[in-house]
Symmetry: C2
Subunit: 370 residues, 2 copies
DNA sequence: TTGTAGGCGTTATCAC
DNA sequence: GTGATAACGCCTACAA
């Protein structure tokens, strides 16, 4: 067993007051196999063949109601649970899907996981969540291992993996179903759930300019995320529509995390000619920017307005002062899962209506300029 | 396919400006089986028996170095990946462990998942993350399904599931290995990783009283979490040691989330006789409290000090003004995973040294009172 | 509508 | 040290 807490002990700038331990107890298991009921036993209990039980398990047609009832009862009585391993080995399906997730925002990951898992539960499919640190590299390798070893029935990809062409073509070569969440490009042969980020960002800037803002700072997400570039483009379009020149000095490259907001806002505040509003390209960033403004004694929104995308309902909950575009990640996760799980083949380019809303709480609306 | 975005369209207090759609494309898969290499093929390629390949795969003893090398090479050439399903079905192990996680803080969930996953990768074990909404009920049922269907080699539990006695005894009855992260009670027959929360909280209060604080507000976590009660107890002890009376008016019951911090701080501010410091029982709470203070124009730490537990390194990153107890969830996750994955049997009550640190950044130390 | 035989890819058991 | 052979629990294909 290795030392825990590596990297946590160097605290140069801190002073240590307390000292205690993580203590772990270990109770060895006295091995003893526990037998679980099998299909065979269910079949015997119900007085039918194994295949018949398999039929009701898989909800196949051509079974008399009486037999089905008998089998159901037997399954219930024995508390029978089919073995995933055996089903996966023998059958064509594994009843598992994989969720491949890399994102600097825990809130985002959480929302996606929760949404996908919910749908999976309903479909009696198991979700294998695979949180990634893209930084560690070898995504392709890991993904191949995952696929080869667990044989998922399908995958859901989130940015930026949605845009790794080698990954996509690899998946396609293996004839695997997969759905992309907010991909950069809409490949015609790739299922996806997404919104028009460019338009959304443009609308937000329009909203700001209508309130008189003409100097609007922008804090972008990480360049490897397509949505960041899209929101950036929308920002530029919005400015253009209002006849405002694009000023690179007030456009800051961030990373879709809280810290980016803090640092971005600090840089904007340090400028000689401060913007009157900050448009953050995610709610984490917006939250960070707000924190920095507060710390610097800048009143929001009187001195400076902050707006952003509310990807994870974070802003909605905790930052009432924030005017946001509600881009519900949860709903996107539902859509992606439904798409993957739906058996309807040939559902080409279905559209799910969804209102993208710019909101400002009545308690603290945008502050008009001048 | 169902409507996405349910619940996102009612926005009474908001005004809608933009409107767009989530659009989904669907590309049906032209089914085609892809054959992956099996042990048999590896055996033929290496000119050995199937069993021999299995031996090197499982790292068994009693193999000549030459054969092992031959097999390794063959496996590499064929890019062989063993089938999880087959291994699980035939063998005694499934090479999977389950992480059962319910927590209101996405940051916490993320830390635990990342930590456990890291260790699992190293041990070539797959982590099945099972995020839970405790609210949904039927935990026991779900857990049983999970165990019966996936046959994990072990489980890691996080609060509050660590304290559901029915779950624990069920797991024990099934002869399953499991490790508890921060359990309420140290059952002697249960592996666990934890710290002394009472002592830590006491230290923090001592720290505050040494700076002259005598009226210290406390915002607790959700009552179903044992750590909350422990930190609460430590708070009380710390007061007692300084000869300060415990005042229930400034102790607020929260839920271990950001919102609790916001609301808790608001209530403390509304008091006629405000506390000079707030001790939050988690970093999410502390962050929320800080946000509220900032919004209310209260200067931190000049007007009011805020301290808390830094469970997730959230405070460390984003709230430099915060004095915290560093209780690294990541390290605890490592410890739990190591414990579960270690094959050493009979490692009774091993202790991992770990310094629990109270820190205050030099930039903004606690503000002395008077 | 129901049942029978065979096999999925690996590990366990027991000989050699 | 190494190799045959029988499981593991379920699904597919085909026959009845």
């Amino acid at each position: 067993m290795r030392q825990a807490g590596g990297g946590f002990q160097s605290a140069d700038e801190h002073f240590s007051l307390g000292c205690t331990v993580i203590s772990v107890q270990h109770s060895p298991m006295t091995a003893a196999p526990s037998r679980k009921p099998t299909i065979k036993q269910v079949a015997e209990a119900a007085g039918v063949s194994i295949k018949t039980v398999s039929r009701v398990l898989n909800n196949e047609r051509y079974i008399s109601a009486t037999l089905r009832a008998r089998v159901d009862e037997a399954m219930h009585n024995l508390a029978f649970k089919p073995s995933q391993a055996a089903r996966a080995l023998a059958g064509r399906r594994s009843h598992q899907i994989a969720l491949i997730c890399d994102n600097p925002s825990p809130y985002y990951v959480y929302e996606v996981q929760a949404g996908v898992r919910e749908r999976c539960m309903e479909s009696h499919v198991r979700m294998i969540a695979q949180p990634y640190d893209i930084g560690a590299g070898r995504v392709l390798e890991d993904l191949r291992d995952l696929v080869d070893q667990t044989n998922p029935d399908g995958l859901i990809l989130t940015p930026p993996i949605t845009d790794f062409t080698e990954v996509l073509s690899d998946l396609r070569a293996r004839r695997l179903r997969f759905v992309c969440l907010s991909p950069a490009i809409r490949a015609p042969d790739c299922s996806a759930a997404f919104i028009d980020n460019v338009a959304a960002a443009r609308e937000m800037v329009n909203h700001l300019t209508q309130f008189g803002h003409r100097r609007i700072g922008f804090i972008a997400g990480h360049p490897s995320y397509a949505t960041s570039a899209q929101r950036h483009a929308g920002y530029a379009q919005g400015l253009a529509q209002a006849g405002i020149a694009y000023d690179p000095d007030i456009v800051i490259e961030g990373q879709y995390d809280f810290r980016s907001g803090v640092e971005g806002a600090a840089r904007l505040l340090a400028l000689g000619k401060r913007p009157t509003a900050i448009f953050a390209s995610s709610d984490d960033i917006a939250a960070g920017a707000l924190a920095m403004l507060h710390q610097s004694g800048v009143a929001v929104p009187q001195d400076m307005s902050v707006t952003g995308f509310d990807d994870t309902a974070l802003a909605e909950v905790v930052w009432p002062a924030l005017t946001t575009i509600r881009q519900p990640t949860r709903a996107m996760a539902y859509a992606a899962a439904d798409l993957l799980l739906s058996e309807g083949v040939g559902v080409e380019h279905r559209q799910i209506e969804h209102r993208l809303i710019i909101r400002a709480s009545a308690a603290s609306p945008l502050h008009p300029i001048r």
